[in-house]
């Protein structure tokens, strides 16, 4: 009997959409045993590059009072929204993504440099003999 505030995945193929619901933690989300729906989260950004999250905060606080516990991801989302402090995993994920991005940028720069030096090498090799004689 673990009452949770969790995501329930609805939507369809290639189009996820989460309802934020109160239900048993280990139950299947589409089993129809949702106690109450208290919000939604759309993970796909819209035209204005926004991900919409709607939460009935009054109901949320009531259920928290009943002893419902938010799952990791719901807690992360609520942290980003300012209801909870920011979840440590948010910081960790952000850091990981930043490191990955920096590594990708560094790799690309390294690649470009090697390409440039290769191009210069090729140019030097294909220069005509006359200039070589002139430089001597």
């Amino acid at each position: 009997m673990a009452l949770a505030i969790r995501f329930a995945l609805f939507g369809c193929t290639n189009r996820p959409f989460f309802h934020i619901v109160v239900m048993e933690k280990r139950r299947a989300q589409r089993s129809g045993k949702i106690k109450e729906m208290i919000g939604s989260y759309d993970p796909m950004p819209n035209q204005d590059n926004q991900k919409l999250v709607a939460v009935d905060f009054q109901k949320l606080q009531q259920w928290l009072g009943f002893g419902a516990v938010p799952t990791k991801h719901v807690a992360e989302l609520l942290g980003l929204g300012g209801f909870y402090p920011i979840h440590p995993m948010s910081y960790i994920k952000a850091k990981r993504k930043r490191t990955l991005m920096e590594k990708q940028v560094a790799d690309m720069q390294a690649k470009e440099e090697t390409q440039e030096t290769a191009a210069i090498q090729v140019n030097e090799d294909t220069q005509p003999d006359s200039t070589e004689d002139a430089s001597q």
């Binding site: 919000g39 929204g81 920011i86």
Partner: protein, 366 residues
């Protein structure tokens, strides 16, 4: 009932209703009060009986006073309602819309007819409720938290809205977490769009309807669809939305340019239009139009309204010193001292006097 009798009856009724205690002109005040909460103004109500300086309209944002305070003055409201008039035929004109019913035909006694007219007039006054004229809302600029360590977590913004029950729309919390980690309150535009998505209001579209884009608006104005534009603007925007103010002001200017003031007579937009011209000191053409119609009452009302909204103007001071002035003298004082197009107004007064002399009547008539 003959048409002329019906008009006279309606006019009679509107004066009775204005003076009755049952139906006070307090329609716009609660709306203004709720707007002033959100825009950060001091929570003053509307019933300012003292002579309050409404303030000249200035181009600089800092010094621009709020027209709402002047608009909700009871004296101003009374004059605007009187000027709007009550043409039952126009108010109950058939409009092709959802829910528009078919007219009923009934056989009644004179007493029953009188009762029906009374109730229709009360309902018509509700239809003539004026959308308040307010200053543009101040932009929302509040940052709740800065978390630069969240940079890189999301490439898109996260918009959080509180969907708790029974919270007024204006008080709903909407916050945005930016990709750089800043948590801030949503701007007015973001608020309007998000609220329309989760709490849709009928007659509103998400985003700006193409009709209100500058070019399309001009086309519609040239077609003469002033009332339609104003009605749609009222349903689409909040009244302190800068877009609403832009659309309505452009419409009023277009009407002023073409002299088509009577299009809006006996609609809910006539009052706000008159108030706009009065507040921004552009009543000359309007005054001329009233004088050409030979309605001295309306002209006098307009000048009186000007004196209430701008109590420190020269003609107001002069009129205050002449307690027994006739209507024409008051209007002439305004024309001499405060009219921007002096010659136009003075000419109109002269023409009016000539007409009066020729028909041999100098009494107030409509």
């Amino acid at each position: 009932m003959a048409a002329s009798m019906k008009c006279a009856w309606a006019r009679c009724l509107s004066t009775i209703l204005l003076n009755s205690t049952k139906h006070r002109c307090q329609i716009s005040q609660p709306l203004y009060a709720s707007c002033s909460n959100i825009s950060g103004d001091s929570g003053e109500g509307g019933t300012d009986q003292t002579r309050q300086e409404a303030g000249p309209a200035d181009d600089t944002k800092k010094h621009r006073r709020d027209p709402g305070k002047a608009f909700t003055d009871v004296r101003v409201q009374k004059i605007l309602l009187r000027l709007t008039g009550l043409d039952l035929d126009k108010v109950y004109e058939y409009r092709a819309a959802k829910g528009a019913g078919v007219a009923k035909v009934a056989l009644m006694s004179d007493q029953q007819l009188k009762k029906v007219y009374e109730s229709a007039s009360y309902k018509a006054l509700r239809k003539l409720q004026m959308p308040p004229v307010l200053g543009a809302r101040e932009p929302i600029d509040e940052v709740l938290s800065e978390d630069p360590e969240l940079e890189g977590l999301n490439t898109s913004k996260l918009v959080f809205i509180d969907i708790s029950q029974r919270v007024p729309l204006k008080k709903r919390t909407i916050v945005v977490r930016e990709p750089n980690g800043t948590l801030r309150k949503a701007s007015w535009e973001e608020r309007d769009v998000t609220l329309q998505k989760y709490f849709p209001q009928s007659g509103r579209k998400i985003g700006l309807p193409r009709m209100f884009q500058q070019d399309n608006l001009e086309c519609m104005l040239d077609d003469g669809k002033h009332e339609y534009i104003l009605n749609r603007a009222c349903s689409q925007f909040e009244i302190d939305d800068p877009e609403y103010i832009r659309v309505t002001q452009r419409t009023y200017e277009h009407i002023d340019g073409n002299g088509k003031f009577e299009d809006l007579r006996s609609t809910r937009h006539f009052g706000p239009m008159i108030f706009y011209f009065t507040y921004y000191k552009k009543i000359d053409k309007l005054l001329v139009a009233f004088l050409e119609e030979e309605s001295l009452e309306d002209s006098l009302d307009l000048v009186k309204l000007y004196h209430i909204v701008h109590p420190s103007c020269k003609s107001a001071e002069k009129v205050a010193s002449m307690p027994d002035a006739t209507p024409l003298e008051i209007i002439r004082a305004f024309a001499e001292m405060d009219a921007t197009q002096k010659s136009l107004v003075q000419q109109a007064i002269q023409t009016y006097e000539k007409e009066c002399d020729s028909t041999g009547s100098t009494q107030l008539r409509r």
